[in-house]
Subunit: 326 residues, 2 copies
């Protein structure tokens, strides 16, 4: 297999390299692309070192897959060249996620849809992946009518810069220095910021609408209604989500737990999972499963997953594994 | 006025002293009680210093009010002596909150109920106070049917020890030392713990059931249904809550904002409030007001309030002010 990675020096790109190595893929060639700033940088992969290149429209010839870990605008600018070169573009940006001819894939949930691709497969939003992994076993038992989600999102969602900003602020506060947010709109150390992305005319942020729009597409439920509140918290790399799911039929908790224990990629825990404990793991952890006190068809739960892994890099790798039947 | 404070050296007790001083109450006598460990300790109040006493059953003679900032068991052990002495016991513990003959008071919402007391008035749970302050203006416009709440609770909810534990863990992690949680069930630094209190047979924690039981009592709505998830986050002293309120009638956001701007003790902000910004203030801040995307009668919002002030100490002081018409 010949694979390229766009944005290979960012938090998600580096995790993609690590995941490829862990999975033990038989990789004939790995091409690493990044911006001019990283040109020539050497990145270890297996027993060799790979020099970082700056991508141009001829860079993708001969590749089977290109993994995208760049901005929407960069992903858009490279898309045609990747497709023209005959590679499959597994893209982590939100540029193509809602396009009708682009499958939006969480392999454990709708992997078969991936085969309908026309050169581009989109990797969903991080909080959406982690939430839907937790909800998927319930969706196997009955129809999901609505989801109320409140997220506790790690700073890694804003990349390497986000993680750096949290650490720098903690240090500045300790030294009695002034905190000057750059990556986040307000101080994130010892704080919680209930605004991620831009606020739209309906009062929801772009990040919150991803859970609605991508959730509906991935679950194949055009009528699904989602109420989401996305909050940034001072956690390094795992997202947690408090979920209330309303279902068509009333379910027994024991049946849901059984389904969760069968479902690949998730682990149900009687002890509450926390974001620190699930860091650096590909699985999504679920706990606090209980019946809603408002509606008999409601189910509440808490889930945590590594944002850089299953929320981004490892889900993209899982898409390749699904297609290649690895 | 003659006032006593039980637990005067804890986080809430110390804040009560500070609030009494700020409010400029004409206080003839202030008696400060604490455990043996603090006996004789001198605490400044206005232009003098007060020596900390250990309370006994004769300590409350002549007092008009005793403010309680101690555990349920200590509050229970002193209650009879306080009532017998003729003082009004404004208690912050959860020991008496659901007792039928004990008013549970947020003065801005149900202050008149306070006059029905039989010697004891209970101060509600911190997250419940902050949430209900944000919901109260909506409750003035129509009936509240249900509330879905996800809390982001500061470590101050576990007192001085909780705040110390967060700081010590941050330092330990920086030094590469092992973190050993004592006050919290897991590491709180860079983490989020979705379990506060003990888990009951319905799967909800004792902390989560307070929002249901106390919310229903304070709002005077026996049929109110609450789905709550309480989460501890690494924030020092302000709680934040993501709320979804379902109402009997459909409301216009502009009407709610108007009501919020009129309501005492809350401030509606177009810019998202964060817990750091509301620290050391008595007001509760509300933001992110928007219509639910699931039900036309749903309203979503985000609120933040200082846990030690309006969540505990200043609400207790507000109860005295309401009764004394100050």
């Amino acid at each position: 297999m010949k694979i390229g990675i766009l944005g290979s020096t960012g938090a998600v790109g580096r995790q993609m390299i690590e995941c490829l190595e862990e999975e033990g893929f038989d990789i004939e060639e790995l091409r690493l692309f990044a911006s001019n700033r990283s040109l020539g940088k050497k990145i270890p992969f297996k027993d060799k070192e790979i020099s970082v290149e700056v991508a141009n429209e001829n860079s993708f010839e001969g590749l089977d897959y290109v993994l995208g870990a760049v901005s929407n605008s960069l992903a858009s600018s490279y898309k045609d060249a990747i497709v023209k070169a005959g590679a499959i573009f597994v893209d982590n940006s939100s540029a193509f996620r809602l396009d009708e001819d682009v499958p939006l894939i969480i392999p454990e949930i709708n992997g078969e849809e991936a085969f309908k691709h026309k050169g581009v497969i989109a990797n969903p939003n991080c909080s959406t992946i982690i939430s839907l992994m937790a909800i998927a076993p319930i969706a196997k038992l009955t129809k999901i009518n609505s989801i109320v989600a409140t997220t506790f999102q790690a700073v890694s969602g804003a990349g390497v810069e986000g993680m750096k900003e949290l650490n720098e602020e903690i240090e500045a506060i300790k030294n009695g220095e002034k905190v000057e947010p750059k990556t986040f709109i307000k101080q994130i150390a010892y704080n919680a910021i209930a605004e991620i992305g831009t606020i739209g005319s309906n009062g929801y942020t772009s990040e919150e609408m991803k859970m609605q729009n991508e959730g509906s597409k991935i679950l194949g439920l055009p009528d699904l209604k989602v109420n989401c509140t996305c909050v940034r918290v001072p956690v390094h790399r795992s997202h947690s989500i408090s979920l209330l799911v309303n279902t068509e039929d009333e379910l027994a908790l024991e049946d849901i737990k059984k389904e969760m224990n069968k479902f690949p990629g998730i682990e149900y825990k009687e002890e509450v999972p926390t974001p620190i404990e699930v860091a650096n793991q590909n699985n999504v952890y679920v706990g606090r499963l209980r019946k809603d006190l408002i509606d008999k068809n409601g189910i509440s739960l808490w889930c945590c997953g590594d944002q850089i892994r299953k929320g981004a890099a490892s889900n993209a790798i899982d898409i390749i594994k699904y297609i290649e039947k690895i």
